[in-house]
């Protein structure tokens, strides 16, 4: 562009040639300028395409790694429930039934399928193919119906995670035997089971009904989901009233002075404090000073509440600000007190906006991991928590824990857990969008 400016200044004795020169010069530079224009546009397209590519790769990776976790390779096994093994006294007492050696029954039933395996080391390899969870399947069956003892039942029990991964094709037979976790003999046995039509692929309901486990085939996400639910309840119960109260005060009642300014600066800064610092706060104050229980959703919820507070306050203030002053003036004119104006008119009108902000804040809190690591919610917890003070973990932390496990089967379970978490987040965000579209009024 700079040349254009120079040419514009009359050069030689004000002849009309200068105008033609300018035209020519502009025409000459136009090609280059248009090329620059196209290039610049292309950069923009490339940037957006890159972002889209990242989203696509992320989702494809997670999905392609995770969808197999919703199926589990099981084996159909005919087990004879010998009374002398389960209940030698014959009194059918619950204690005897729950402590009986069911593993022996499983081993017997499974061993019977391979009468040629006699060697002890070979046998151990054989029994490694069945998940330790098989014994619980039988135990639960017997405890439910002691009348089954002495009969022959057909059950479907999970195979161990390595065999499951082999069946799904993640462990390949082509890799040298020393480098894979499934041995040649096991592959052979598995093929024989398949030929006899005993291997079935079933929906992995364990994944949705169990707590954490060291065995991938027995690990489930219900414990983490319940932990997340309790944590979110605590977070919501604390942050929503506080945030609404704070934003009403700041927006409707607060005088403009140093104190309210300090509060506003504080809120803006808290919104940008790294989440892990909130974890340190929780550790130092809630755990070490107030001696509240470690690993409990109660403390996790409190920490996350402090973290989401600024988000909700900022959204709520925007929603309150959007209510036109005419509403307030009309109500005041009708004789309402300032508090009545807010609670009867302004707050109900701004509720959709506040709720949208709250849901977005909650979605943020649901995906947060780092502060919860600080307050001990990262423990290995098998039991499904029943209250906000039981030790628990939450979904993102469960994902973190599983992603650290070396077993291949945990990779697919991590991805599956991510899919479940993303589903929750999508539902929450969709709810926020619907709420905004449906109820928010433009004045």
């Amino acid at each position: 562009m700079s040349e254009v400016v120079q040419v514009g200044t009359p050069s030689a004795a004000g002849r009309p040639v200068a105008v033609r020169d300018t035209k020519a010069l502009v025409a000459k530079s136009l090609k280059r300028r248009y090329a620059a224009e196209r290039r610049f546009r292309l950069y923009g397209v490339a940037a957006i395409a890159f972002a889209g590519f990242c989203v696509a790769v992320l989702f494809v990776t997670i999905f392609s790694n995770g969808y197999t976790a919703f199926w589990q390779t099981n084996i159909r096994l005919d087990v004879t429930l010998y009374p002398q093994d389960i209940d030698p006294q014959g009194d059918r007492s619950p204690k005897a039934l729950s402590t009986a050696n069911y593993q022996k029954l499983i081993k017997q039933a499974f061993g019977d399928l391979f009468p040629d395996v006699q060697n002890r080391r070979e046998k151990r390899k054989l029994f490694d193919m069945i998940s330790p969870g098989a014994t619980f399947v039988i135990r639960d069956m017997v405890l439910k119906d002691p009348g089954l003892i002495g009969k022959r039942v057909q059950i479907s029990v999970p195979l161990s995670d390595d065999i499951d991964q082999f069946a799904k094709g993640f462990i390949k037979a082509e890799t040298p035997e020393s480098e894979r976790r499934v041995k040649d003999a096991q592959i052979d046995w598995f093929q024989r089971l398949k030929d006899r039509d005993l291997v079935v692929t079933e929906f992995n309901s364990t994944f949705f009904t169990a707590g954490d486990s060291r065995e991938p085939e027995l690990a489930g996400i219900l414990g983490a989901i319940m932990g997340s639910v309790f944590t979110m309840i605590v977070t919501l119960a604390i942050s929503f009233p506080l945030a609404v109260g704070a934003s009403i005060y700041l927006e409707e009642f607060a005088p403009k002075n140093k104190w309210t300014q300090l509060i506003e600066v504080n809120i803006n800064n808290l919104a940008a404090v790294p989440s892990i610092v909130f974890g340190l706060l929780g550790l130092a104050v809630f755990l070490n000073f107030f001696n509240l229980p470690r690993s409990a959703p109660l403390v996790g919820g409190m920490v996350l509440a402090l973290m989401t507070l600024p988000t909700i306050i900022i959204a709520a203030r925007a929603a309150l600000k959007a209510v036109p002053p005419s509403i307030r003036e009309a109500a005041l004119g009708m004789g309402a007190s300032p508090v009545q104006v807010v609670f009867h008119h302004v707050l109900p009108l701004s509720m959709p906006g506040i709720l949208t902000g709250t849901i977005i804040g909650m979605a943020q809190a649901l995906g947060e991991t780092a502060p919860l690591l600080m307050i001990g919610m990262v423990a290995f917890i098998v039991d499904i928590p029943g209250s906000p003070v039981d030790p628990a973990t939450v979904m993102p932390v469960q994902i973190y824990l599983w992603s650290d496990s070396p077993e291949r089967a945990f990779v697919e379970r991590t991805s599956a857990a991510i899919m479940v978490l993303l589903c929750f987040l999508i539902v929450m965000n969709a709810l926020a969008v619907v709420l905004r579209k449906k109820f928010e009024r433009r004045w």
């Binding site: 562009m1 005060y249 800064n269 610092v277 340190l280 991991t369 690591l373 987040l425």
Partner: protein, 460 residues
């Protein structure tokens, strides 16, 4: 569960107070509400507030103090030789007692002293709770009867209720200040304890980081060195890589969307960036560790470069992707705030669209963009999960993005996760790192917000 029941009982009582206050006020004037000073409901709220607030405050106070009080009482009742144990061992004993009392530990192999203490602990807990419940209920009933006697037709019930509501509103707005104070105090106190053990200069300027303190004197590689420079360098390296990805991509996509894109394109691209913003960081971390890091390693092998599988590059790039929507939405706001007249003036002089953007809009929006980028840097510095899952643990002082480096946040997590004794320099170091992190992000935010606000004023 008991607490929940108690809370329910108190709530019912409060509701009862509301009905009672309302009924009483109406009864006093023979059902003619116009003779009352306030609407009848306000008399109800008045009684309910008197009934509920003191009782709930009592319960809350007890619940926060209960563990401390019980621990103190139990400690003082323990035999002298147990009491004289060091703080850590005493903590373990107390933990045993608590587990025993709640029935989650087996009774075998425990000394009778401890069992007795556990039983005392359990009874004290029950007693304490029962006493608290009785007192809370008594307070509620007392408040109820007191407030009921105060209800008269002339009483300014609405004014009093509204006064209380205002106090509650003010109290909830001070929570933000309390949180900041809590953060500063907790970080400061623990850091000061750390600096008593390790001089601050060693921490801030030391070049070696190996926080494992030796259990035995002759142990190898356990020097207990707390020089944080390698952590700062690693954090800066990863943040720099992240910004190299996020700044151009975020800025260009914001420019494209606000200046070029058709509204239909925008309707697709904007939510797509929001999706990127909504994905939890732990998912990015998993993605970095599972896909991106191995991809970079294999690509490096192809060109004969040795790229560590925990390279700063992988963590940085994924972190950059995470920050893209942040940069783009902030720049979008700023670019949209540039007055339309400036664009039109530029077009009128014959400039093309890209010339207008580069020579008019960007210079005008520069302060806002710089502020946004600073906010993004503070995001990158404080980001935890991606680096915990994809970056290394060893503190290398290097500027090579292909090597593994560690960051401040990674070290905070590794120092504090798992079993810990709370007095060792190792755990306290995490708080000192947290303090540095807090100060740096705070400074960045303050600068960024000032710049952005100044810029906003310019065009308003």
């Amino acid at each position: 569960m008991q607490t929940f029941t108690l809370a329910c009982v108190l709530l019912v009582l409060t509701y009862f107070g509301f009905r009672m206050g309302r009924g009483r006020a109406l009864g006093l004037v023979g059902g003619k509400a116009t003779r009352l000073h306030s609407l009848p409901g306000y008399y109800g709220y008045y009684v309910a507030l008197w009934c509920g607030i003191p009782a709930f405050l009592m319960v809350a106070a007890w619940l926060t103090l209960e563990p401390t009080v019980l621990t103190m009482l139990t400690t003082s009742s323990l035999p002298a030789d147990v009491q004289s144990l060091s703080k850590n061992e005493l903590g373990l004993v107390l933990n045993d007692i608590r587990n025993l009392a709640s029935g989650s530990a087996a009774r075998a192999n425990v000394s009778p002293d401890i069992v007795a203490a556990a039983e005392r602990y359990a009874t004290m807990r029950h007693l304490g709770f029962a006493a608290m419940a009785v007192v809370a209920l008594a307070v509620a009933v007392a408040g109820l009867t007191f407030a009921r006697t105060r209800v008269t037709p002339d009483m300014r019930a609405r004014n009093r209720v509204e006064q209380t509501v205002r106090v509650i509103l003010i109290a909830s707005s001070t929570i933000a200040i309390l949180t900041t104070v809590g953060i500063v105090l907790s970080l400061l106190f623990e850091s000061l304890r750390f600096f008593e053990k390790i001089p601050a200069t060693d921490f801030l300027f030391g070049l070696e980081w190996s926080p494992q303190t030796a259990l035995r004197k002759d142990q190898v590689g356990s020097s207990g060195l707390f020089g944080a420079i390698p952590l700062f360098a690693g954090t800066l390296l990863i943040s720099f890589i992240a910004m190299c990805v996020a700044a151009p991509v975020g800025l260009l996509s914001a420019i494209y969307m606000s200046e070029y894109a058709h509204s239909r394109v925008r309707a697709v691209a904007k939510p797509m960036l929001e999706v990127l913003a909504g994905i939890p960081t732990v998912v990015y971390g998993f993605f970095a560790a599972l896909t991106v890091a191995p991809f970079f390693r294999d690509t490096g092998d192809l060109f004969g470069l040795s790229i560590s599988s925990e390279s700063a590059l992988a963590a940085g790039v994924v972190m950059g992707v995470m920050i893209i929507p942040f940069v783009s939405s902030l720049s979008d706001d700023v670019i949209n705030a540039v007055p339309q007249a400036m664009r039109e003036g530029s077009y009128g002089l014959g400039a093309t669209q890209s010339e207008t953007i580069r020579r008019v809009i960007l210079p005008a929006a520069l302060p806002g963009i710089v502020g946004g980028l600073l906010l993004a840097v503070s995001r990158a510095i404080g980001e935890t999960m991606i680096v915990v899952m994809a970056a290394g643990l060893a503190a290398n002082l290097t500027a090579n993005p292909f090597e593994a480096v560690t960051t401040v946040t990674v070290q905070i997590v590794t120092l504090l996760v798992g079993d810990q004794e709370f007095d060792s320099a190792k755990t306290l170091a995490a708080f000192a790192l947290g303090l540095v992190l807090f100060c740096v992000t705070l400074a960045l935010n303050v600068v960024a917000l000032t710049v952005v606000n100044k810029y906003r004023e310019q065009y308003e």
